[in-house]
């Protein structure tokens, strides 16, 4: 019978069961968040590196050397010895400074938290030791140490409901990270495509302003997709930037038919067709794609086939919470 030995205590592993699921089932309290290999809240340490390679995606070299692994992604073929690791040390304390609504579903959460990051990276926010979720950073590093996340409120979502209904200035939140590599490359001459749907706009908003702050000279195309016109947010700010910066073009693309009463410039189109037409030759482009998996996958392939190099296509994929 296969098992995971957790700090000396054997726990049976059902067929195909992850280490995390087995330990939770046994009643052990293991912090966890996305259960999809993204948030790194379920880190454990293994005795050796034999069965954990597949569960180390996204970890740092140092974490790998310590045989840390993501327990939600680890389905070992043989008995494996594991232990708790101190992840609290990798968290800093954040304090809620402000929250406000950006549109009907999306909230802006501003936290004071002292750590270094690059715009476009993401953090895992801890409400308490059992509730953690990952969010991309929309802010630029600033002297006041305030970070910003765009949080979509899912009815029934534990963390986002806390943000929408309860969070107030002064509340404390653990901040782990930063994680992710979807950051501005610094190559200031090349044309850019920055494309987002939903709160994928958060990292794009950070990357765009970083490019501008670093005096990016190539064309910057920002494409934001939404289902209905009311799903857009920050569109006035985006269009203001486009009006002031000659090399920035903003495309707001809406899937649903327009009522004709929209107070801002928006086009009705399929976002994939729209990008195909607008960006037929993407040779030399730097590409940043942020949002749901299907959106990123589809557009990544399209950009690659249109001539963009794989290495120049950066993606921040939003993985839905994988737990029950």
């Amino acid at each position: 019978m296969n098992a995971v030995v957790f700090e000396g205590e054997p726990v049976a592993l059902a067929d195909g069961e992850s280490v995390l699921d087995a330990l939770l089932r046994q009643g052990h309290s293991i912090p966890n968040g996305c259960r999809a290999g993204v948030c790194q809240s379920c880190l454990l340490g293994a005795e050796d590196d034999v069965h954990i390679g597949a569960a180390q995606t996204g970890l740092s070299d140092a974490q790998k050397q310590l045989n840390y692994f993501l327990s939600c992604q680890c389905v070992p073929a043989e008995v494996i010895n594991v232990r708790r690791v101190d992840t609290a040390g990798s968290r800093v304390e954040g304090v809620v400074v402000e929250k406000r609504q950006l549109n009907e579903q999306v909230w802006l959460l501003r936290l004071r938290a002292d750590f270094d990051y690059l715009p476009g990276q993401y953090v895992t926010l801890w409400r308490d030791d059992s509730l953690a979720r990952s969010y991309s950073l929309a802010s630029l590093p600033s002297a006041d140490g305030v970070i910003e996340c765009h949080i979509r409120h899912y009815p029934g979502g534990q963390f986002s409901s806390w943000v929408a209904n309860e969070a107030q200035a002064g509340d404390r939140v653990g901040v782990q990270g930063p994680l992710g590599k979807c950051v501005y490359s610094g190559d200031s001459e090349r044309p850019l495509l920055l494309a987002a749907i939903g709160t994928g706009l958060a990292p794009i908003w950070g990357i765009l302003r970083t490019a501008l702050a670093q005096q990016h000279r190539g064309a910057i195309n920002v494409v934001v997709g939404a289902k209905a016109p009311s799903d857009f947010y920050l569109h006035n700010e985006l269009q203001l930037i486009a009006a002031m910066q000659p090399n920035v073009a903003v495309h707001l693309v809406c899937q649903d038919e327009l009522a004709g009463t929209e107070s801002f410039a928006v086009q009705q189109a399929d976002i994939y067709q729209y990008c195909k037409q607008q960006f037929a030759d993407m040779k030399g482009y730097g590409v940043y794609l942020c949002g749901a998996q299907t959106f990123v996958s589809k557009l990544r392939k399209q950009c690659f086939l249109a001539g963009a190099n794989m290495a120049d296509i950066n993606a921040d994929i939003f993985i839905p919470f994988g737990g029950p």
């Binding site: 996958s297 990544r300 794989m310």
Partner: protein
């Protein structure tokens, strides 16, 4: 000197991989085998394939080749399509014909394992 070294080693693989993978994805005969959500993993596999095809350092055995392509019901058409795209890639990069011939020979040496015959 191996053909891998002659055409520039890892740098040659890096130059070829995007061109080759793009051609393969655009080829209706075989694109379904390569079209995946995880483009990064597929891209890495193409790199490994090219390194092998160029005679570079790799640890593939005939058994690996067989195992990896099992149950895919591959035919001469599929094998030929990959070979054609590979040759077109090398021509685009202006690799000398003599080296292209050597690379094709390496590919042919694993054909039976790939097709599981």
């Amino acid at each position: 000197m191996s053909v891998y070294e002659k055409i520039g080693g890892d740098a040659a693989v890096n130059a070829a991989v995007d061109i080759f993978y793009r051609k393969v994805l655009a080829d209706d005969r075989i694109s379904d085998f390569f079209d995946t959500v995880d483009m990064d993993a597929q891209h890495a596999k193409q790199k490994a394939f090219l390194t092998m095809a160029f005679g570079g350092p790799n640890s593939y055995t005939g058994k690996d080749m067989r195992e990896a392509h099992k149950n895919m019901k591959l035919t001469d058409v599929h094998f030929g399509a990959v070979a054609e795209n590979l040759v077109a890639t090398l021509q685009e990069l202006e690799v000398p014909q003599e080296s292209i011939d050597e690379i094709v020979a390496i590919c042919l040496s694993v054909k039976d394992d790939v097709l599981n015959v």
